[in-house]
Point group: C2
Chain length 528, copies 2
């Protein structure tokens, strides 16, 4: 089926949706028996045994019907089909978009560069698994024949945020489940204090470094590689015995003898979508074992399958995306906060910040034509309950409304807990997120305006049993697919990032002392 790419504001379903502004009073619909019925009904299953509950979003059956019509008219699921069947959806860079293929074969085989891409990705996974197993078994060691104890990822952006967020999400789980193999550290920033601090915190003689750069030309990553090589040399170590590369087959790193091994990615997986490729696979397989990484991929694959469903009540990523478009374009909210009630998800909001803002922070459509509606929101967030004692004041009583994405789990990962005043800490954590949903939606009248809560502040919640490799895989995929569907709805290319280029070009000019005007003044002020 051919798909048609049209701007959001040309769609009939969007025009009727725009007429449904403020048609739902959250305070009313979320109160009393109404609210109980909604809380039960407005919930759809997700992968990994989770649910996506949207009862506290300002939608009703009429808005939902309209959103379903929008999905149909904009052919959102058909566009996903085109994507996973190998259409060149990243039109700006003329590339396939194949990150889903790292975790399963959703549709037809896709051949590119003369190979079947699913085979290419699984081959890399197998190479990584074999390598990781040998490291864990002590078959691959340092020059002194000693086992590696630490893995250090050197990468930035998508080569850092996703893998780091997933590592933190599973670190304690792996320790409890006896699959913790190696501690992982991350060096990302070109700030020399980042690499120096990490190197100061590890035993370099027993550390294995994973250099991640698709092009093999990322400034920060190559600089930090040299920084690390200097440190290894000073410690009398042979760097080539301590480093592996994750890169594309055509990069200068691919066949270098500087590395113990090289694992490949390709141009069809963007950095922010690369956690399920070798970019996440190497460091996570080394840290937790390849079986854990495979479980993570299974969770993501299960979520991908749901995303192929045309029924919005069976496709949580699509439903989440559509509600987001309604909030952004009809209700006019510029931000979304991601609030996981799980300390292990402390850096998941930072990953989603990149995923969403880099994908959909665009002002032209996929044909390069300016558009006249807003696109991707600002994404920010911190774990609850910490955020409650920080920025929730503004969320509750500030002058702007911020839609909220809660995430909660019934059980902790470590299982160590304490009963105070008849409840565990885990119960207190869960009680807080339940309470916040209602506090934001319903508010509470008070004669003292300063203590008055207007309510009407929308949220959704993803609820899972426990944060595991499958659930973090499913969460990652859910948000990747949500962002993709929103990009389709906005008719933009979610898979390029031309907005990062100008800064790079100007920074090179500064370093070459080829500047004038204000740039020269700032360069002087910063002593460059």
């Amino acid at each position: 089926m051919m798909v048609n790419w049209n701007n959001l504001d040309t769609l009939n379903a969007y025009k009727s949706l725009a007429a449904k502004k403020d048609s739902v009073d959250l305070v009313t619909v979320m109160s009393g028996e109404n609210g109980a019925n909604r809380a039960k009904a407005y919930s759809v299953p997700m992968a990994g045994g989770m649910v996506f509950n949207y009862a506290a979003k300002a939608v009703d059956d009429a808005v939902l019907k309209n959103l379903a019509d929008l999905a149909t008219e904009a052919q959102l699921v058909e566009k996903f089909e085109a994507l996973y069947n190998g259409e060149v959806v990243n039109t700006g860079e003329k590339r396939h978009v194949l990150h889903h293929m790292c975790r399963g074969q959703l549709g037809e085989a896709v051949n590119a560069d003369g190979v079947d891409k699913r085979t290419f990705y699984t081959t890399q996974q197998q190479k990584i698994a074999e390598f990781a197993n040998k490291v864990h078994a002590g078959e691959i060691t340092n020059a002194a024949g000693e086992k590696f104890t630490t893995v250090v990822q050197i990468g930035i952006g998508g080569s850092d945020l996703g893998p780091r967020a997933i590592y933190l999400a599973l670190e304690n789980w792996a320790k409890v489940n006896n699959t913790f193999k190696m501690e992982a550290k991350f060096i990302s920033n070109v700030d020399p204090d980042d690499a120096a601090a990490v190197l100061g915190s590890i035993d370099v003689a027993h550390s294995l470094f994973v250099l991640v750069s698709k092009s093999g030309t990322t400034l920060e990553t190559l600089t930090n590689e040299s920084f690390v090589k200097d440190a290894l040399a000073k410690a009398g170590l042979d760097a080539s015995k301590h480093m592996v590369a994750v890169t594309s087959e055509t990069s200068p790193l691919a066949k270098s003898s500087d590395y113990l091994a090289a694992f490949f990615m390709d141009d069809y997986i963007g950095g922010r979508f690369s956690s399920s490729s070798a970019v996440g696979g190497a460091v996570l397989s080394l840290a937790f074992g390849p079986e854990v990484f495979a479980q993570f991929l299974n969770g993501a694959a299960e979520a991908d399958k749901l995303a192929a469903n045309k029924d919005i009540t069976k496709n949580p990523a699509l439903l989440d995306a559509l509600i987001g478009v309604y909030e952004r374009n009809v209700l006019g909210y510029p931000c979304t906060a991601v609030l996981p009630y799980s300390q292990a998800l402390s850096r998941f909001p930072a990953h989603l910040q990149q995923l969403d803002m880099e994908s959909n922070g665009k002002s032209v459509n996929r044909f390069g034509e300016p558009i006249s509606y807003v696109t991707g929101p600002i994404i920010f967030g911190e774990p609850g309950t910490n955020g409650q004692h920080s920025f929730y004041q503004l969320l509750h009583q500030g002058t702007d409304i911020v839609p909220l994405q809660f995430i909660g789990f019934k059980n902790s990962q470590i299982g160590s807990d304490v009963v105070i005043e008849d409840s565990t800490s885990q119960q207190k954590l869960c009680a807080n997120v339940a309470a916040q949903i209602i506090a934001f939606a319903c508010g509470k009248k008070d004669e003292n305006n300063n203590k008055n809560f207007a309510g009407g502040r929308p949220s959704s919640i993803i609820i899972g049993d426990k944060l595991t490799p499958e659930t973090i895989g499913a969460l990652l995929s859910h948000f990747e697919n949500k962002v993709m569907f929103q990009g389709f709805a906005w008719n933009i290319n979610s898979f390029d990032q031309e907005g990062v280029q100008l800064g790079k070009v100007l920074a090179k000019r500064v370093l070459a002392h080829d500047t004038d005007g204000a740039l020269k003044v700032f360069s002087d002020l910063l002593n460059i």
Copy 2:
């Protein structure tokens, strides 16, 4: 002098300011010789030898004159004078606001609770210094007579974010400067995995815990205290030999024999402003020594003195605040990003997020009357250059404009660096922030719309020589005073936080199983 509290939109200076919307074209004024002149001229000295450069903000001499008039008409500096001279500026809670007094005596002596408050705060500092020196000297030890090696802060919100951000800001500096005394860790979240993971990462037998709760009733903190006490008991240790309290003199913790020592704070310092009180003082003095904490306070005191100046060109906090009001209320920007080009400031944006959003996320004025203009913005941020590879795409080419607050230092803290392609990492870091200022302000025309940068995206930059105890103190104070001035301009009470109450009340009801409607459904879904 009596001050008058009036809503922003009643002020003549605000009305004339509102008429100056979009009067400055950033692309034009920041280009060529114009831009060079602006970059040199639009800069004011800050404490700690830093400068605040606002050349890339969309202001000109006419707007600046108008902002100065606004400061005068709104009596912003007079209100600060009233505050530090002891007026009950926190009207909702009927409290003085005295955090400045931890770092100096700006105006008249303030007596409250029968004591001179400056004496009270300095006495606590001395008590902490003596205690910390004894711990470092091995005069206060664990029951086995062994030195404590780790300090663990148990606190949430203002008892966590500020002290944690400052600890991270100075950890490497202290190591290089031989003032690193004890590693610090932080337990904040009620999520049991937070406490369990921290306890699993330390040697509890040699750890000293600092319990921080002003009221002595904070749910998360008391729960985590019990969690820690359980762990100490299981390790056969006497908890009372491993814990100190930071609390108010009237709290149940103040005279308890459960603690080795108690250091006092009071109701006149709000959590988010408490880093320079015993809340930051205990953990930072233990980690780095009392002399380093004193240097931090000196930097803050120097910044406070600048904030008392009525000339906006000599008062960077006031100038920064006024430009922010112009951007928020006249230009209509809902967010501000804080972007430190310093990995050591990785959590400083999270502290500013609380400081700003909890202080100024309000919808009623200080008299409890609804206001008809927007107040505090959404604050978010991550260190550069990491952010460049994450969310900068949206900042450069998204449909919304986000004002930016850069921070950069000429020198790294550790001093270890590497030369690649003729420049050090530190030079690359600085080149990037200089480049970003110009890229955002001036943009770059391209026939391909997808590669076009419209520019006109405002930023300011704070430039320092190096991140030291004085500079982080000065930065902290700068932003505290900025937030305070903005609160005065908006005529709101920046020092209460009624918006956090409703969630607490509802969470208690959930834990007591006293719920109905949607709240009961969510409680059931979360297995409480």
